[in-house]
Each structure stands twice: as C-alpha cells, then as structure tokens.
Symmetry: C2
Subunit: 202 residues, 2 copies
C-alpha cells in the first residue's frame, strides 16, 4: 500500500474531474457521493472533508464547465479573422466542447435536484447568456461590415443560432450520440448563415 495522501486542493480538483468523467455515463441522480468517492478512490465520507455539501460539488463542477467553455470560445475567436468566421468558429468550438464533455448537455437538459436548482441554473443561464452576447456582437460586426445585412435583428439572429445549437445537441443526446455532432452542427450553421446572407439580396 503505497498510499500517498494528497493536498486538499488536489483532491478538490480530482473530485470535480471525477464528476465530469462520470457524467456522460451516469444519470445525474445516480451520481451519488458514494459513486464519486469510488471514482476518486476515497471513502464516501472523505468527500465531505473537501466539499461541505453535495451542492458545493455541483457548483464547482458547473464553474469548471463555464471556465472551459470560455476558454474554448476565446481560442476560437482568436483563430478566426472575419466576423462570420468567428461565429462559425465559436459555435463549432461549443459543439466540440460538448462532444468532449457530454456532461454539459446532460447537466443543461436536467432540471436537477430541488436544491441544486439554486446553484446550477444560474450557471447555465450565465453560460448561455455569455454565448448569446458573443453572437450578438459578432452579428453586429457582420452587419456593420455592410456587405451583408440580416433581414432580422442581431438578437433574433442570435436566438435562431442558439436554438439551432441547442436543438441539434438535444437531438444528439436523445439519439444516444447517433451522429457526428460537430459535422451536423457545422452543416446546419452554414445553411442558417447563408439564409441570413441571402435575406438581404432581394
């Protein structure tokens, strides 16, 4: 038994990672502290040394997800030049993130435990709002560029794109990941963007 004790901080990260690893295969309500503990390699009680309540774990997990989402968006934004390309890149990044962490839609589509609602829902809303703000900004840039102006407001266009993403992810989740989310998403995004573009050519 070469059991080495780890620092509390390390364990906290480990616990969050364990939840992220388990979520794609474990229904949220079956993801008990016992299951988490087994994944980390600790006893169930040890979990409560690092997080005071289970809700605290959910909050930590959601914040980690939010952090990763922001990171991947920033990366996508930096890698593209035109506003339209940035829209494509950010949405593709979001879909890629979701394929890497199917935990995200699982949590998103789960109304969740009664008490967890208070902790989880605000983070969801924040992530969605962040993405929407980003889209509206880029759509505004597209419009400002002048060449292509959408027939609908930037907000409406953003909502249509958000719906497209969410709907596709929902379909992907319900079909048990039955298709390539990123490819299908990219395809539909291109169609939608081309519809925006064509809209003003009349």
């Amino acid at each position: 038994m070469t059991r080495t004790r780890k620092t509390a901080e390390e364990r906290q990260q480990q616990i969050v990672q364990a939840v992220l690893d388990l979520l794609p295969t474990t229904p949220v309500e079956s993801l008990s502290t016992t299951v988490i503990a087994r994944q980390v390699g600790l006893t169930q009680a040890a979990i409560f040394r690092h997080y005071p309540t289970k809700n605290a774990i959910w909050a930590a997990v959601l914040n980690e997800i939010r952090k990763r989402a922001r990171g991947s968006w920033d990366e996508a934004l930096a890698g593209a030049t035109t506003p339209l390309d940035r829209i494509r890149a950010v949405l593709a990044a979001q879909l890629t993130l979701i394929t890497e962490f199917p935990a995200i839609p699982t949590l998103l589509f789960t109304s969740g435990r009664v008490e967890a609602e208070k902790d989880i829902r605000p983070v969801h809303l924040a992530v969605m709002r962040d993405l929407r703000v980003l889209l509206v900004a880029e759509l505004g840039a597209v419009r400002a560029e002048g060449q292509v102006s959408q027939p609908a407001s930037d907000q409406d266009c953003a909502d249509l794109l958000m719906g497209l993403i969410q709907g596709t992810v929902l379909r992907w989740t319900l079909t048990g990941h039955g298709f390539d989310l990123v490819a299908e998403g990219r395809r539909l995004i291109d169609i939608q963007l081309s519809l925006f573009a064509k809209g003003n050519l009349r």
Copy 2:
C-alpha cells in the same frame, strides 16, 4: 364517509392526471409514489395495485402526452389551408401544448432514472420524430407548390425549425417561463420561414 371505490381503469387515468397536474410544480425526482397517492387520495401502496412499477406510471404519462400532442397537431392541421400556414399552426400548437403542460419540457429535459430511460426516451424520440415527419411533409408541399422553394433540403429546413422550437422552449424553461412562449415562438418561426422564402428569390 361516503367513500366510493372506483374502477381500476378510472384510477389509472386519475393517477396519470395526478402526475400531469403535479409535474409543473413538483421536481421530477421529488414526485414520489407517496406524493402521487396523496394527490389521488389513496394510500401509497394502492398505487401499486394499478401500476406494477413506477416506470409503468412514467410510460403511461408519456403516452398520454404523446396522444395529446398528436391531437393538438391534427386540430392545427385541419384549421389551416396552405402548407405554410399548416407549419405555422402545428408549431404554434406544439408551443401552446407546452404552455398548458409545462410537464412536457420538464420531462424532455430530464434525463431521468437509469431504468426509466428505457421507457421514457423512446416516447420522446417518437414525439419528436412524429413532428419532424409532419414538418418535412408540409415543407415538401411548400416546395411542390412551386412558388417558394427553399435553398436547403426539406429535412434541413425541418431540423432548423425543430431546433428553433426546442431552443426557445429550453430558454423559456431556464428563464422560469420569463416570456410568452407562444408569441416569441411565432415571431421566430415567421422570421425563419421568411428566410426560407427569401432564399430562392435571388
């Protein structure tokens, strides 16, 4: 105590109705057989005389929802004349149904218990498939009418519309029913349909 015993069939319907009534205000995982029994006015044990397992209750509830969805679609289809109007009507009907039974997205967005998945998910998929088939058919009719032909395939257009609906419903759910779902949905649907229409005018 003029306690009259009811038939098993009556009770079964009553139990399903009780779940539908409770769902908007009760988190899915708090909706125990005890709560259901209290709503119906029976003991908890009596529930199991009418449904062998709790999953059986969920299955019955989902099938009832599916039945009602079909019913409201049919009504919408019958009340509209042109294919485009039928699309608008069916989607609005679906949104109206959801405002009447917020239980639907609650169930849809909840991954649910492990075992319930087997019973619940297929019904979800069936409902979504039904709606999509309907949309594809009407979009085909729009195209066949000749005047307006979409720049994308009927299937893709249907997916865009489905995403629009699902995304809007998700937003509505997460914001705690913070806006008028039907009105907002109609607005976005009209925009999307006009995008389809304009697409071929170039």
